[in-house]
Subunit: 246 residues, 2 copies
Amino acid sequence: MQRYKAAVAYDGSGFSGYQIQPRGRTVQGEIEQVLQKLHKGEVIGVTASGRTDSGVHARGQVIHFDSPLQLSGDQWIKALNSLLPDDISFLRVEAAESDFHARFDATKKKYKYFLYGGLVRDPFKRHFAAHVRGAFDVKVMREAAEHLTGTHDFTSFCSAKTETDNRVRTLFELDIQDHGGELELTFIGDGFLYNMVRIIVGTLLDAGSGKLKISDIPGILAAKDRTMAGKTAPAEGLYLWEVYYE
Amino acid sequence: MQRYKAAVAYDGSGFSGYQIQPRGRTVQGEIEQVLQKLHKGEVIGVTASGRTDSGVHARGQVIHFDSPLQLSGDQWIKALNSLLPDDISFLRVEAAESDFHARFDATKKKYKYFLYGGLVRDPFKRHFAAHVRGAFDVKVMREAAEHLTGTHDFTSFCSAKTETDNRVRTLFELDIQDHGGELELTFIGDGFLYNMVRIIVGTLLDAGSGKLKISDIPGILAAKDRTMAGKTAPAEGLYLWEVYYE
């Protein structure tokens, strides 16, 4: 058996999330079904760096799987992509050490969030960026973001349904680029809690629209209370962009 | 009654084309249905600069319609876009002269066509750009394009189903930009025949891949025979970008 490490992109808009489940179309389900075809009916399980929710995209989700087949990266890509539906695509496949683990070995992750303002919604972005109706001040959002980088207990910034007890995470970078009214927010951290990026985006928008003061942010962090932070921003703006390994 | 001129964007991937028809979802059908709602059941017909085929997009389709309502541009945009499905969006609405005609008054049109190469197809582009598997030489495509600009009988470059007798058109510009392997082709002309942009793209790809010599192009034009030109490139790469008026 050979362990393989692969990077996968998917448009999340047609999926009930990454993780396989009894009902609904999932990314994992589609990939495992194709791997099974390529292995004459043998079930090949895949393990990802983490789940993504319904409607959330990936530009560089990383998975691993074991296979008796000895194929090159390009051979895997051709075989898998020709059988997969066109909203999932393998970008890279490479042989890995037998103990490589897509989830446990990940040291950092990069997410991006895209949003745009203005009166007119863009039909080409409806699945790919969030449309914000009100005005927002990017400079204020950047100042608010500075309070969130570093190591914090992010309990206020994760779903109340989060099962992890340790909610301390380090956000190395939270950068906001303004491309003529479309914002590109980049998050790099050692780990992200459930809905953490989307709740941070919702809170930054509250700051940017004046609903919240920048000086409120430290208190929200200290409160460790989800109800203190902003709304969860919509799924369609969120992309798992890259997963880092040693 | 006031005549209005409007610019409309739509993602064509969910439509059986622009023009209303007995079966299938159409852009015109959706717009007229919403206008009827805004006019308490009264039927308001819309006239476009021209049709677009199934799967073809618009960034700036222009239409006109008559209405007894006196609304500002922003009021129309808010009223229409809040009722329209999210794959159609009104960008601009303005009062026009009572004899303005979206089709007959159009003097030029701009189309764009997006395509990309490489082994890996991009799931985010599956409805928005054509994926070309083989290699193509952009420099050769640009040289081939030079033979097509100017005034020509484009019979070889339109569908055999074209009903128009006069197939002489002027292509003012055919520009090809290479954004790191993704090509953006821009066409500006005084009018375009049925499938003309897509057949030109297919022919340029034949030149770029060596299937056709650049010096063959004048002969293909002279033959006035559709079977001499390349294949019709896929709909998903094509956008009606702008319609020009005096």
